[in-house]
Assembly symmetry: C2
Homo-oligomer: 407 residues x 2
């Protein structure tokens, strides 16, 4: 069974018109107007495919193809339609529209399944506007309280719950609490491995060890033109030394460990005053726990050294320490077998980025299926996945989905 | 003749209640509501002192004490009531209220002067909300076009001209274009020299060589969790290396030269994406032109080296290259003599920070009179000037003012 690759590609490109960015990609951050538009287009396609739609209090959308035994827990497959502020056309949409295409392919072939199949769009996977990411699946699986998610605010102070209502996706379906048989997610790799070795399908076994920290660097306001250098307590200077140390730590531990600083804000941030406060956020991802421990210790030591040298204050706040999520061994094997049966090269691999599959793996057998993306680039408007790889991934997804739905 | 130090102090502390900050100081940036309140209180005091008020199209306020020969160009004395976002109670207000106190002292003594005396409050000296600073005096002296000043926008996109109208200070008095006999400005030193040597009055001879540059660092967006370190083009890393190089250049050239980075913005500035663009601003001040040339060359070289090492793009924009302004030799001498006659220690010195006196020195004999501030600290809410020093400075100002107004 092969999906209709052209139909899938046409949908990806159509959706790619919504929330167009400046360089061929997207700014379709969670719960912006364009997110609402993308959801409505997706729901239109689901209705065309004969699926019944429900939306829960997180705005998660479930498009259900009923099974011959509606009493059985369904097979879920999907991903997310939101993007980064500088996002592409595949990170997220491929998993949602790939699952929809798989269901359409079953429809076209007139294949009924024992279990229902539901295509899911999780709300706010990216976490760039409302922290944290993977939010819709986190509330669905009980990892995050609904109230806490609704209270999240963006930089402009707008609340998640209000924005959800504003775009019309504060739904009434029960929030999680129902059994799921299997969760499958198709996604671009967002790294260079598959492309480098020329393999089409990645059967993801687990995630990595990661950490995300916020740091507040405190100095003292004073006049940039008149303060003698020995008296300067420029918080931005300390932040810069730390940013350099974090990135150097990443280079030193690559490829096992990576680290970068990505967020910075300075106060009062004007041309005439040395800033008294700079906040920054850095993240690291490691193949082993030992590497993460070592890197965090090295960065801690660098901070202490910079603090001693500059007289600036450093206060860290651990925002997330994430240990690996493990995917289902039987599903990994099923993915390999499906890929081979379809004539696609396949390899087992880990994921470094986070996915909604992390949360789902805590409540049901879960598998994440990767396809290559050009130059391993994502979270960039130039993000690209070849049509043939989109189709291959969706066909593997369809095969595993069919097998699981007929258990 | 001694001014009433207690009255001056009471005014400084009263004004210090307007736009109160979080740490005893101010956030009274130009054309905010608090700036309007401070202006109205100042005008109330001027009316009490019998002065006649005019406001020009820049919102500059002139409070005039008529002379016996109204046809003669007046003596102007003042400074500014706006503050930094983290400002103190003296940087600016001391010069305005010190001049008002000098005029009141003449009133109390029943002394008439040949020339009129005008106390002036210049709009937007600080330049922290609307760039550039020294704006009101720049338009008054013809250094900046009125339309250009009115078109300046703050970070929220609000226009200077609209904000000026909003707070009720878009005045109708003719914009500059009238002869001024003398300009005098009393100000805290904003540096540590007077305090360090125990001298009360600084007779300022000239300013220094300064520069202010904006830099755009360009990299490439990509996923913080999955991009291999060798492929990362993290604009924030390049910015950090440059910030460190700028500050180190400042330390290397101190005390002659100083340099710091004070402003930074990153895009898209979220936790999951390596930023593709970081902009920053740095400034330097030097005692000699040769030092400024050397420092700019060193920073340029550092930028080229960082660009080559990281593959990031660096684009600089020179925002200001300011050569020294020289104050009037006769007024420097007059300041010294007045200080000595009043029993205050006095020394000649330069100013590193910018002042409205810079602009005024291009149209009339001008002098800047400094008094010590605690720890040389300014642009900080803890900024402090001893009452005795405020009074001493105002008394010297009154003496020079009287001498010049009777020429």
């Amino acid at each position: 069974m092969q999906v209709n690759g052209e139909r899938l590609w046409a949908d990806l490109m159509s959706l790619g018109q919504i929330g167009a960015g400046q360089a061929g990609g997207h700014d379709r951050q969670a719960l912006c107007d364009a997110d609402g538009d993308a959801r409505r287009l997706f729901m239109h396609w689901c209705r065309q495919a004969g699926l019944s739609l429900t939306v829960d209090a997180m705005g998660n959308i479930f498009a259900r193809r009923e099974g011959t035994d509606p009493s059985l827990p369904p097979v879920l497959a999907g991903s997310h339609l939101d993007t980064q502020a500088t996002g592409g056309r595949f990170d997220g949409p491929l998993g949602v529209l790939g699952a929809l295409e798989a269901v359409r392919t079953l429809n076209d072939a007139g294949i009924a399944t024992r279990r229902a199949i539901e295509v899911v769009n999780w709300t706010n996977e990216e976490g760039c506007r409302f922290f944290p990411g993977l939010m819709g699946s986190a509330v669905f699986t009980g990892a995050l309280a609904l109230e806490q998610a609704h209270a999240a605010t963006d930089r402009a102070g707008r609340r998640f719950g209000e924005e959800l209502r504003r775009i019309g996706f504060l739904g009434e379906a029960p929030m999680g609490g129902r059994p799921v048989d299997t969760y499958l997610e198709l996604h671009i790799e967002q790294g260079p491995l598959l492309e480098r070795v020329g393999v089409t399908i990645g059967a993801v076994t687990q995630s990595c060890w990661s950490a995300m920290l916020d740091v507040a660097v405190t100095g003292q306001n004073s006049h940039i033109q008149s303060t003698p250098m020995p008296q300067r307590r420029n918080a931005l200077y300390g932040a810069a030394l730390l940013i350099a140390a974090v990135e150097r730590c990443g280079y030193a531990h690559a490829p096992d460990g990576t680290a970068s600083t990505v967020v910075i804000d300075a106060w009062p941030n004007n041309r005439i005053v040395l800033p008294h406060l700079v906040t920054l956020s850095f993240g690291l991802v490691c193949e082993t726990e030992a590497t993460r421990t070592a890197m965090l210790a090295e960065i801690d030591a660098a901070m202490a050294r910079i603090g001693a040298e500059t007289g600036l204050g450093f206060e860290t706040r651990l925002r997330r320490l994430r240990d690996p999520f493990h995917f289902d061994a039987a599903l990994v094997a099923a993915t390999e077998q499906a890929a081979q049966a379809l004539g696609h090269s396949v390899m087992r691999m880990r994921t470094r980025p986070g996915h909604d599959a992390f949360n789902m793996s805590t409540v049901c057998p879960t598998e994440l299926i990767f396809v290559p993306c050009r130059d391993g680039l994502s979270h960039n408007e130039a993000e690209w996945c070849e049509p043939v790889h989109c189709a291959a991934g969706a066909s593997v997804l369809a095969a595993v989905m069919l097998e699981r739905a007929n258990r």
